[in-house]
């Protein structure tokens, strides 16, 4: 988020320059994005969007409205950001689907993808270009995500869409949690919208600009950025679809298409009512969505955690963060693999956070990756947080938390035993349950019993 904010500022100052640079970067990143390792969350989001178009799209369907609300409600925006994060996660979940999508999009989306990376910045730049002022910046960021690829006109459209999508997605995610449903809808929409996207997109872009301004004014905050990222990703996809062969692209990447489609659908609506009208409509739509999102009482905590972490560890240590509505609204942080230990350490020793109690640690094999889930609790503040990290499945290695919480000792052994996750720095990593002579790690999805009689 902070990155986005910075971007906004940058955008304000030298939007045009930023745009140019951003575009270049984005392109470069887009190239690189194929592999989703963007530094910034936005970038990741963008990637995720590219890769996980479906999810965003789904979310986007509803989220577009949410996006509007987001803009209005900054806090909501934060929530959205989380939602976006969720969306991302979902996307990741969809990664498989995404994977193909990106390929298609890459050419057209190359730009978008870049946007994704620098989306915030670039978007901001783009927005600035679009003359969207500071308010526009955020939107611009989103837009940039969109616009960078397609740049001005398409970008504008996409950007709007993207914003909406992101918002919608986030909102959808947060609200319904039934992201799946939304996704499906979004996918359907995408199918429809993808074609329509382009043309409407232009209008939408205009609208988007306006909206962007409005939203930006309201949203202007980091939330927007987060949402924007997600949106941007979606938009990027949309753009890709739009720029390249909107229809084909959309068709190619269902997910993306869906995401896009969702955005498109929104865009269409916007187009139909004209960009501003659309924006208004979005806002109207969004507001309910936002309200739906808001209820989580833990949102302020998540905001706080993120703020503290970003202020102290930098903006790019967290891959994602959201409220897990399924799990009693626990604030969930997704750390990057190389910042996981740092974040965990920070969570325990920072005075504001003080998560002194490790309630649970375990791993899960998600086939595409491994995930370590840590549930932390602070007896001082009486708050919970879930910390997750995704790690490579073929080489599952991660730092041990044992030096931070002594209670992580055996759970990590268990994760090592049953999933094969190696915890570096663990004082005594051994096969605690099955014994050292056991072959294989049973909780891996590809586990084959070594002894047929077992």
């Amino acid at each position: 988020m902070s990155g986005e904010k910075d971007l906004d500022q940058l955008k304000k100052e030298a939007v045009a320059k930023a745009k140019a640079e951003a575009i270049a970067k984005r392109q470069a990143k887009a190239a690189g994005e194929g592999a989703p390792k963007q530094e910034d969350k936005p970038a990741e989001q963008a990637l995720s969007q590219d890769t996980h178009p479906v999810e965003p799209a789904q979310t986007a369907g509803t989220p577009a409205e949410d996006g509007a609300d987001l803009a209005k409600k900054k806090a909501a925006a934060a929530a959205k950001a989380k939602a976006a994060a969720l969306a991302k996660k979902k996307r990741e979940g969809i990664e498989e689907e995404e994977a193909p999508a990106p390929v298609e999009t890459t050419p057209a989306s190359a730009q978008p993808s870049e946007d994704g990376d620098d989306l915030a910045k670039k978007k901001a730049a783009a927005v600035a270009k679009a003359k969207a002022a500071a308010a526009a910046k955020r939107k611009a960021m989103e837009l940039a995500g969109e616009s960078t690829p397609a740049e001005e006109t398409p970008a504008a459209q996409t950007s709007d869409e993207a914003d909406d999508l992101a918002k919608k997605k986030a909102a959808a995610v947060a609200k319904a949690k039934a992201a799946a449903a939304a996704k499906r809808k979004a996918m359907e929409l995408a199918g429809e919208s993808t074609p329509a996207e382009e043309t409407p997109a232009v209008d939408a872009s205009d609208d988007g600009d306006d909206l962007a301004k409005k939203k930006a004014a309201a949203v202007a905050k980091a939330k927007a950025a987060a949402a924007a990222k997600a949106k941007a990703a979606a938009t990027a996809k949309a753009k890709a679809a739009g720029t390249g062969d909107a229809d084909t692209a959309a068709g190619g990447d269902d997910e993306k298409a869906k995401a896009k489609a969702a955005a498109v659908a929104k865009a269409k609506a916007a187009a139909a009512a004209k960009a501003k009208a659309a924006g208004a409509a979005k806002g109207g739509d969004v507001s309910p969505a936002d309200t739906a999102e808001k209820p989580s009482a833990n949102q302020p905590f998540l905001d706080k955690y993120r703020k503290v972490i970003e202020e102290n560890l930098g903006a790019d240590v967290l891959e994602d963060s959201y409220i897990n509505k399924l799990s009693k609204d626990v604030p969930t942080l997704v750390a990057k693999k190389d910042t996981y230990f740092k974040v965990a350490q920070f969570l325990k020793y920072n005075e504001l956070l003080g998560f002194d109690y490790l309630s649970e640690l375990h791993g899960t094999d998600f086939v595409t990756h491994m995930e370590v889930y840590v549930h932390l609790f602070s007896y001082k503040n009486r708050q919970s947080v879930a910390l997750k990290v995704k790690i490579d499945r073929d080489e599952p290695t991660i730092e041990s938390l044992q030096p931070i919480w002594a209670g992580a000792n055996w759970p990590e052994c268990e994760a090592y035993d049953l999933l094969g996750i190696k915890f570096t720095g663990h004082p005594n990593l051994h096969r605690i349950m099955l014994g050292e002579d056991w072959v294989g790690h049973p909780l891996r999805k590809d586990y084959e019993p070594y002894d047929v009689e077992v």
């Binding site: 799946a180 399924l326 799990s327 899960t364 007896y379 009486r382 605690i432």
Partner: protein, 366 residues
Amino acid sequence: MIRTEEMLLNVGPQHPSTHGVFRLVVKIDGEIITEATPVIGYLHRGTEKLAEDLQYTQIIPYTDRMDYLSAMTNNYVICHAVETMMGIQIPERADFLRVMAMELGRIASHLVAWGTYILDLGATSPFIYAFRDREMIINMLNELSGARLTFNYMRVGGVKWDAPEGWVDGVREFVPYLREQLKGYHNLVSGNEIFLDRVKGVGVYSKEEAINYSLSGPNLRSTGVKWDLRKDEPYSIYDRFDFNVITREEGDCLARYHVRLEEIEESLKILEQACEQFPAEGEIMAKVPKIIKAPKGEAFVRIESPRGEIGCYISSDGKKEPYRLKFRRPSFYNLQILPKLLVGENIANLIAILGAVDIVLGEVDG
């Protein structure tokens, strides 16, 4: 200078005081432990792996076999996790039945913990008294669920059976009976000098250590941390009852002993109030789909079992089986501090310290 050697002594898995198949390899110098290495896994049954191929309702019987001394809380935690994900509201009557079953289970579990602890310390009678009173609880739960140990009583959305006629009255009568017995327990053991000599100041850890080692339940509350999920993160209908969170400041075995024994009284309070408020009639099952499918996503819930916080993590891909199921088993976490506590103690204290942790091996090994 006389040369002495350290001896490696293997305590368990076939040992009377390890409460199951728990193994502890201790290095002793004379009778002083210089190093202790716990070895677990003898009872590992792969519940979490099995659950990946089972529907949610089918998993419930497996949870009975984890903490087999208070199977009701295990039943509850998985149902609670699924219900949380699906957003199911439980009928009031079912909630009452659940809470009463869980509190009875908690009392039964603490009675066993008390009895076996004193047995570990060499006195045989309290063990029998504890089992006599536990038997009454088992009978009540038997009437409720049809089983004495592995109840398989709760379902996603409610409970399987309604309380039989007069069951609540039975519980109501049981409360004053056990209160009276508890006085006897205190008279018999709590003031005994030999007993105090063996547990006072033994196995001490601080509040910070307890938190750092992820201890929970009586093991944590014995250090003065006032934390009980029933009170502080109320689930089910626990917020309707008036009860205290028992804490002690000392953090030794005696504190853990007292926390458990006094928690029985608090559970009796809850039971008493639950009997008063028990709805005369009502549904015992919420409307749930025939095949339960948790929505896509993940959830982690934790509740207060007699041994600490038991948690259930479910990652669902929207199918009728969980994609990944994980239990946070309190005994497993509570046991981690053991090697640290044992260094420098003698073998007699080993038993006292291990008994005070109150482990159930079915739970430790999952």
